[in-house]
């Protein structure tokens, strides 16, 4: 996983996505715009972070989980 370490922590690009979600982004397009990461990386990264329980997806909208929130300021 490019956005999650084997220990289940977000990488630098993972943290950028989590910060984008914290600042109000809910779609991959918004996360890409705020984080400056390419859209394909965001789509794949969000998928990985959902699997790692750092992010949750409900009806196409992404949100931080409690666990994900602990890794960002």
């Amino acid at each position: 996983m490019a956005c999650v370490t084997p220990e289940g922590k977000p990488t630098e690009s993972g943290k950028k996505m989590l910060n984008a979600l914290k600042s109000g982004a809910t779609s991959p397009e918004e996360v890409a715009k705020i984080s400056g990461l390419p859209l394909f990386r965001v789509r794949s990264g969000l998928r990985d972070m959902v699997q790692a329980d750092l992010v949750k997806e409900e009806e196409g909208k992404y949100k931080l989980t409690e666990k994900g929130g602990k890794f960002i300021e």
């Binding site: 996983m1 490019a2 956005c3 859209l39 394909f40 789509r43 794949s44 990264g45 998928r47 990985d48």
Partner: protein, 216 residues
């Protein structure tokens, strides 16, 4: 009597929806659908740490901003491992100062290579040849290029094809031989006798009714 079996291998063709995949890359696990909405240049190379491929990766990396300007992403592929790709791209950066900014598929299982017809046994039974698939934002294959193992690709031509396809999509025109952005484009030829009659009066620059150009 010995049964004769002929294996029919399907190669993706221009105008078809690109075959879907999920693959391990240097940027994590990526799916074709992750690129939806962007143009995508999916290209294969024979092997990491080989001379022609190294020159191509330097050239693709240097041209990456030009691809981005056109809303296009790059995705490399070979049958090497992720560790090999990482070691090779780090070596390229160390020796030449060029950072490879795009992901590379590690197609050890050859799943993607086979789906896209990237292995041509006449050239090599084990390596992918130099294929280029230009895929549009709707994930339709718009152009395919094949190069032999010994010939490095012309990156300017790949950019030119994207420019031509984007111009065609935007204006409903075609582009002539050796066309470059800013040059005149071809107006689609009329398909009726009446249309042919009218064409020469429509103010285009025409050689004859079937070959007319205009600026866009």
């Amino acid at each position: 009597m010995e049964e004769i079996r002929e294996e029919i291998i399907h190669f993706p063709r221009v105008g078809e929806v690109a075959p879907s995949f999920e693959a391990v890359t240097t940027h994590g696990t990526l799916r074709l659908e992750d690129f939806k909405g962007s143009w995508l240049v999916l290209f294969s190379h024979p092997a990491d740490f080989t001379p022609v491929c190294t020159t191509e990766f330097i050239a693709f990396s240097q041209a990456y901003p030009e691809f981005q300007k056109r809303g296009a992403e790059l995705l490399g592929l070979s049958v090497d491992s992720v560790s090999s790709h990482i070691a090779w791209t780090r070596n390229i950066q160390e020796k030449t100062g060029v950072k490879v900014p795009f992901p590379i598929i590690a197609d050890l299982s050859k799943e993607v290579s086979v789906k896209y017809g990237m292995i041509h046994p006449g050239e090599s039974k084990t390596e992918t040849i130099r294929c280029v698939f230009i895929i549009d934002p709707n994930q339709v294959i718009r152009a395919i290029l094949y190069y032999p193992l010994t010939t490095g690709r012309n990156i300017s031509e790949i950019l030119r094809i994207i420019d031509a396809l984007q111009t065609t999509d935007k204006y409903g025109v075609a582009t002539p031989a050796n066309w470059q952005p800013g040059e005149k484009v071809i107006v689609p030829a009329p398909t009726t006798a009446e249309g042919a009659e009218e064409r020469l009066k429509e103010g285009y620059e025409c050689v004859d009714w079937y070959l007319c150009k205009k600026s866009v």
